[in-house]
């Protein structure tokens, strides 16, 4: 009804601490309707905490968060209505079949029967699981389970989809398919997607990328703008002889790095490359220009690569369950 709709998600100075650890420190950003918004950061950066606050299962210490204009603290039930969530850990019931899981979800979200039936068929079709409709979930592969979870999050009228590491642990092919499903889903309905990931290559196609580390936002922009501002093109070259290598390095001592026979130079643009070629062109055997990547942006902003961490208490208990605690479920 208005010309400029409220942002799908608005986060205003959200802070959360666990004991002495600051998980989120005055985080502020907003996501426009229809965007694909990526939260990029290493494990423990606060991505999951942020998502949990947004889906109202965690209360922030301070600050406000709004989903489609609804304050998650004042009206959590209202805020949840438009949400679809895919958690980091699988949250399917593996003793129920594929269709039963979706049916359960539809009932819990109060989707009327006729709509529910149609939507379940549609979503199974979307993620190519219609053949497995009556299969128990425990027999599915992990990639299929993830797909089913995406389908489930779309069974009700979700307008905002949260995906917490939806592609973690999947092979490259399954990951590509997952994104294809999301693209297809976005053609069917107006959908804002907020995704956390630590696969940098997946982020390239998002509308906005928010780099988060240690509970703080380091950058929040389109991938192209991030690369333009924080990324560097790299020139990789191999000189014809040792003397040429030494000369090139001594000409650019600050930005050059030697990598075996190869020299890697941080380029400041085309002018730099041209000048380099003019000066050393005849003595270079091979030269490759690497466009700025988000990897280099991340490196420049955080000073390190995306890292993985040791298993926490939850993972250990989960392992226990896998080993033999199963009968207790």
């Amino acid at each position: 009804m208005s010309a400029s709709p409220a942002p799908a998600v608005e986060i205003d100075h959200i802070s959360k601490r666990y004991g002495r650890t600051v998980a989120l420190d005055e985080v502020t950003f907003s996501v426009q309707c229809g965007d694909v918004f990526a939260l990029l950061g290493p494990n423990g950066a606060g991505k999951t905490t942020l998502l949990h606050i947004l889906c109202t299962i965690l209360r922030p210490d301070s600050g406000t968060a709004r989903i489609g204009g609804i304050d998650v603290r004042a009206n959590p039930l209202g805020a949840r209505r438009s949400l679809g969530v895919v958690f980091q850990e699988p949250s399917l019931d593996d003793r129920l079949t594929v269709a039963e899981n979706l049916e359960f979800h539809g009932l819990v979200y109060g989707v009327p029967k006729a709509v529910r039936r149609a939507r379940i068929d549609e979503m199974l079709d979307l993620v190519e699981l219609e053949k497995w409709r009556d299969t128990l979930v425990r027999t599915l592969s992990s990639g299929m389970k993830r797909r089913l979870e995406v389908a489930r999050a779309l069974v009700h009228d979700s307008r905002i989809l949260f995906l917490d590491e939806p592609t973690a642990g999947l092979d490259a092919q399954s990951r590509e398919r997952m994104w294809q499903y999301l693209r297809n889903a976005r053609q069917e309905r107006e959908l804002t997607v907020i995704v956390t990931t630590h696969y940098i290559e997946e982020v390239e196609n998002c509308d906005r990328v928010c780099i988060i580390d240690g509970g703080r936002i380091l950058a929040d922009d389109t991938p192209a703008a991030l690369k333009a501002r924080h990324g560097h093109a790299l020139v990789r070259l191999a000189a014809r002889d040792e003397m040429a290598s030494a000369e090139i390095i001594s000409a650019h001592p600050e930005i050059a790095r030697r990598n075996g026979e190869e020299i890697v130079l941080r380029s400041s643009g085309d002018a730099f490359t041209e000048e380099l070629l003019q000066r050393f062109g005849t003595r270079i055997r091979r030269l490759v220009i690497e466009e700025p990547s988000l990897e280099s942006v991340f490196l420049a902003l955080t000073g390190r690569e995306l890292r993985d961490q040791a298993a926490g208490a939850r993972e250990r208990t989960y392992e226990f369950g896998k080993r033999g605690g199963e009968h207790t479920r």
Binding site: M1, S2, A3, S4, C55, T56, I57, L77, G78, R80, R81, L83, V85, F87, E89, P90, S91, L92, D93, R95, L96, E100, E103, F104, H105, L107, V108, Y109, G110, R152, A313, R314, T317, Y318, F320, G321, G325, H327, T328, R329
Partner: protein, 299 residues
């Protein structure tokens, strides 16, 4: 709706917003009630479906009463006679297996109730409950569906024991059955709620064995389930025959009165005031549900 009519006085616009809020809320309330019923049904159905697919639980539910009734009950039956002592001191007018039978029903309900309550931990930690927690269902409805599901399964396992009534020489009239099933439902509901309360307080998960040994069996053995506190004796005499601590614990245990009520229904024998059992069961159900709800809202 850019800048809510700045020409209106602030008070009037606030009032307008408040009244429209009420309208919206009323509409939502209707919708949410219907939605809730569907959601409760879904959670209940899930519990029941899972139980029917869980062979291990079903086997436990069948084997346990067989052991207690056919082996322990029939085995101890001859030793449960007052005449052994020359004079009639045990006035329980029933054989041991008849006396034990209602308690086995309670035992089966207990195991199943607590088992489904423990699944709350799994549901909470590993996902499935999370998916419900981010849904628009209120916490109370989620918990109610979950406990109702556990109650239904436990009631079914309790009813399994009834098929052994013939072997225990217990004849169950239809009227007994109605009263008995009602009591069994209350026991199942109270114990599932209690299980959820305990499960919520457990930080590290050690498996069902701990529950079995620390919660179920102590409560069960201290409920006058497998031996009677002789009602013919005065309170003082009971404390002479049995150690005082044992009698005290049994009398403090609410399950004592639950099993006593079941005996009233199935073998028409009660050691305590017949009003006590149902009253305590209703109180337990409400109390434990409310505590469970309070804990649940916090997570």
């Amino acid at each position: 709706m850019t800048e809510n009519a700045p020409s209106l006085p602030a008070a009037a616009s606030a009032q307008l917003r408040a009244s429209s809020d009420v309208l919206i809320r009323r509409g939502k309330l209707n919708r949410s009630w219907r939605g809730c019923a569907g959601g409760i049904y879904a959670i209940w159905l899930r519990e029941v479906k899972r139980a029917t697919r869980d062979r291990g639980q079903l086997i436990g539910g069948v084997v346990r009463p067989l052991l207690y009734v056919l082996i322990m009950g029939i085995g101890l039956n001859p030793y449960f006679r007052g005449e052994i002592y020359g004079e009639v001191r045990f006035v329980v007018p029933y054989t041991y297996v008849q006396f034990l039978f209602p308690a086995v029903i309670a035992l089966n309900i207990m195991y199943t109730s607590v088992q489904s309550a423990v699944s709350v931990i799994w549901d909470r930690e590993f996902g499935f409950l999370r998916e419900v927690l981010v849904s628009p269902m209120p916490r109370a409805a989620i918990l109610f569906g979950k406990i109702l599901g556990g109650t239904t399964v436990a009631l079914f396992h309790g009813a399994l024991v009834l098929t052994l009534a013939r072997f225990a020489d217990v004849s169950v009239s239809p009227a007994d059955l109605v009263v008995g099933l009602g009591l069994m439902f209350l026991i199942a509901f109270a114990l599932t709620s209690l299980g959820v309360v305990i499960a919520n307080r457990i930080r590290s998960f050690e498996g069902f064995g701990v529950f079995s040994n620390v919660v179920i069996l102590p409560l069960y053995f201290l409920s006058s389930s497998i031996f009677p506190l002789d009602p013919a004796l005065t309170s003082a005499q009971t404390r002479v025959i049995y150690p005082e601590w044992l009698v005290t614990l049994i009398k403090l245990n609410p399950l004592t009165y639950a099993i006593d009520a079941l005996r009233g229904a199935f073998i028409h024998f009660q050691q305590f005031d017949p009003r006590l059992g149902p009253a305590i069961l209703v109180a337990m159900s409400i109390l434990f549900f409310l505590i469970a709800l309070r804990d649940f809202r916090r997570t």
